[in-house]
């Protein structure tokens, strides 16, 4: 499997999984291989887990110990060159196309607006906690109680229970609902209430 990695601000690759053992790849390093819709941190991808839990390193060590080192090294480079010449150009083009979106993906997650997160995770590990906005909904409930703030509280509960069950899509949608309900609650509750009061004063 040909894997590209992004280190020191530039793309490197393609590498085989075993080669990544010698590369400065951490679970936070962004990687891409054919089939992924975008670059992912290596720790998110199940396929790369052997790289980090030591099983790949053990496998490589076992392989080099049990087989004849000289003949192995002579055969493998030839085979690899044949593969790379036919597929490398195609994959590199695709990788460059995907790299166009790399700039967007590298926004630190803390800056990304949670209500706009819509990336579909295919082989990613458990995604991060979608915001429940429970704090805001409690605050709104006592500030200006309205069906919207109650709805926001219920939505926060939905986010939490979906996330716990592992239904991350529903959790994210509930989180969006909560965000909208809170904004509507503020818009409808606070402002018109104050305006109306000052008008009939």
């Amino acid at each position: 499997m040909k894997i590209w990695i992004y280190v020191d601000g530039r793309q490197e690759g393609p590498y085989e999984l075993e080669q990544l053992l010698n590369k400065p790849v951490t679970p936070e390093t962004k990687v891409w291989y054919e089939g992924l819709p975008k670059w992912y941190p290596a720790g998110y991808l199940d396929e790369l887990r052997p790289l980090f839990d030591g099983s790949l390193a053990a496998k490589v060590a076992a392989k080099s110990n049990s087989e004849n080192a000289v003949t192995e090294e002579q055969d493998e480079p030839e085979l690899r060159q044949q593969d790379e010449s036919t597929h490398e150009s195609d994959l590199e083009q695709t990788a460059e196309a995907v790299q166009q979106s790399v700039a967007d993906d590298f926004k630190p997650a803390s800056q990304q607006n949670p209500t706009q997160n819509s990336a579909a995770e295919i082989s990613a590990k458990a995604p991060e906690c979608p915001p429940t906005y429970i704090g805001w909904s409690i605050f709104l409930l006592i500030c200006c109680c309205s069906p919207f703030s109650i709805g926001a509280l219920v939505a926060a509960i939905c986010v939490s229970s979906f996330y716990n069950k592992g239904e991350y899509d529903k959790a994210r949608r509930a989180s969006d609902w909560a965000a909208w309900l809170i904004m509507i609650s503020i818009a409808l509750g606070f402002l018109p209430g104050m305006l109306w009061q000052s008008l009939i004063m």
């Binding site: 429970i134 704090g135 605050f139 409930l141 006592i142 926060a156 939490s160 004063m201």
Partner: protein, 117 residues
């Protein structure tokens, strides 16, 4: 930065409430109370806040005691949620379904109790 905006908004609100008294009529009314005549969980919050800002804690307690728990809880959750990456374990426990259902339960109980007593 949202943090600065939030702090500034809080500051303005605090000053506003310090100067505006309930008699001036500038405080919005609760729509639930207008419609049904019963208190909502937050009724009296603004009067309580006003009293607190002027140092009259007992009076504030009389208007809406729930606020003394709800406001710190709300602040706690806002902080924990925005920093959920720093304290993942705490965030997980605090926003578990159990905790949130418990909050809803407490709010509903308070809603009923304050109208019955």
């Amino acid at each position: 930065m949202t943090a600065i905006a939030v702090v500034a908004a809080l500051f303005i609100v605090v000053i506003f409430y310090y100067n505006v008294s309930p008699e001036s009529g500038l405080m919005p009314q609760c729509s639930f109370r207008l419609l049904t005549g019963y208190d909502c969980p937050g009724c009296g919050f603004q009067r309580a806040l006003h009293a607190l800002l002027h140092g009259r804690v007992a009076e504030a307690w009389g208007y809406n005691p729930f606020v003394f728990f709800a406001v710190p809880a709300a602040l706690f959750y806002i902080v924990v949620e925005s920093g959920c990456r720093h304290w993942p374990e705490l965030h997980r426990r605090a926003t578990s379904p159990w905790a949130l259902w418990g909050i809803l339960l407490i709010v509903v109980c308070w809603w009923i109790v304050r109208n019955v007593i």
